[in-house]
Symmetry: C2
Subunit: 320 residues, 2 copies
Amino acid sequence: MAVYTEVSDDELSTFVERFSIGALLSYKGIAEGVENSNYIIQTEQGPFILTLYEKRVNEADLPFFLNLLEHLSEREITCPVPLKDDKGQALGTLAGRPAAIFTFLSGMWPRKIKPVHCGELGRALAELHVAGRDFPMKRANDLGVMDWRGLLNQCLEHADDVQVGLGEKLSAELDYLEPRWPIGLPKGIIHADAFPDNVFFRGEKCSGLIDFYFACHDIFAYDLAICMNAWCFEKDGDFNVTKARLLLSNYRKVRDFSTEEVDALPMVARGAATRFLLTRLYDWVNTPKDALVKPKDPMEYFKILKFHQSVRSAAEYGLQ
Amino acid sequence: MAVYTEVSDDELSTFVERFSIGALLSYKGIAEGVENSNYIIQTEQGPFILTLYEKRVNEADLPFFLNLLEHLSEREITCPVPLKDDKGQALGTLAGRPAAIFTFLSGMWPRKIKPVHCGELGRALAELHVAGRDFPMKRANDLGVMDWRGLLNQCLEHADDVQVGLGEKLSAELDYLEPRWPIGLPKGIIHADAFPDNVFFRGEKCSGLIDFYFACHDIFAYDLAICMNAWCFEKDGDFNVTKARLLLSNYRKVRDFSTEEVDALPMVARGAATRFLLTRLYDWVNTPKDALVKPKDPMEYFKILKFHQSVRSAAEYGLQ
């Protein structure tokens, strides 16, 4: 479950009064999510989302995230928009935590990924990249290529409990990636976590993106690679080139890739796989058995990494 | 968290179509609750609650619960009302589980109990007892006085790990209660689980009761005793007679007690404390450490039991 901080009814009623959304009628903690505590609140004006920021989110980053959502929504990207209180502030304090109220985004994340979802995602991701271009704030990717070695070192002792030889293989992968990681590719605001549960659909149409708390300034191709890894592999680990082709071809209808981006894609995809493999491994070896959130299987990403290691050119992703 | 069964977007959309509530816009699992999986669903007509019945609820009891809610709501008791599908059925199947959709009840359960809440509860509980009188279905209390010994026997081995001597004390309490348990007191439909998180308020007014999955046919005084135990003791275990007086006096404005009920109240309150002490003890010794739901402290109810053991007459509860 995702509710780490309990909010009292009196406190929340007082908090909600500062926003012009009518009286609070109800609030319920949402079971999904990992990083923060989220509640659906119903007021006289309908449903909203209340987020309490937990310790995993750096408070200093919150203005970046909230301003980014506002910026994107002004550019017709459908995403949760933080409300402003009677003093014009989006960020408040509730139950001792930074907190904000957001517009409610309708739509459902797809439990079973169809190719049409990947096509829609490609378009939405490119639109996000374009809309973020003139966003003035910067946030470095704190899970970028130069952070992976440190992550690995924190798991090395237990990595081989997950699979014999895993630590050594990851170490070799970093030896490969670090000196070769592409520089100079087109950069801008990326979502960096556009997994299926963060992308909403109504029917077959994408109705918006949520959960921008990994958003940062990094190369666009990396965001695309994260999506390819999260959306275009089947549960058995097989790569679905039909899905990838739709993701990439719909993306480039909105923002075309340079030749350099295409050439770098296999390398960037290895990096994207390594990043999620490492954070999952870290969570796997560091999560107590009685934690509220079950860690995800890191080995799913090991299979994805192995696939990309065998790729010789981006043509294998369905790019023409 | 309370979501044990994952529902897919496609499956749920199809399920919702059978009810005339517009298209499904969103659904999110609710973190609260223990017995069943609950989702807030938003449709074109607003919010509703979807419940998937998990194994702890006996499927054969579901018609009783659903019909009871309908019966009560027709008698102006505010509670969730099951919707009927296009074939007139409230109960369907979703993700392999019995499932139903309910009207959304606004209001919030009080995190900090004030005396005024107890007064409101007294009135609401009496109204429920009166409204249930002509409900034709019956359901025996499967956690009644004659079921407690069996529960205790299942925990005896580990009871003393919780507190030395606890098993023996509980055994002695059952020796006391079983032969003395009052018979012939006024009976009818009782809620049997009207804890604060099952009673909603808007401001200081009770806006409804939820979670009727322990409702059964038993003595009214037992329901009142459950409420007194759950609402009128402070966190440190102290009995708050102001709260109890309001609970009882507001109750009797709607349904007056007989002299027999008043005289039996200390005994019934011991029984009500014993019932929750035993089920909490059972959960405490049987819940695996990595369970989704943390068990509640049984010893909170041991303090309550000890208080009632020292009571000589119902006057100590504030009854005049």
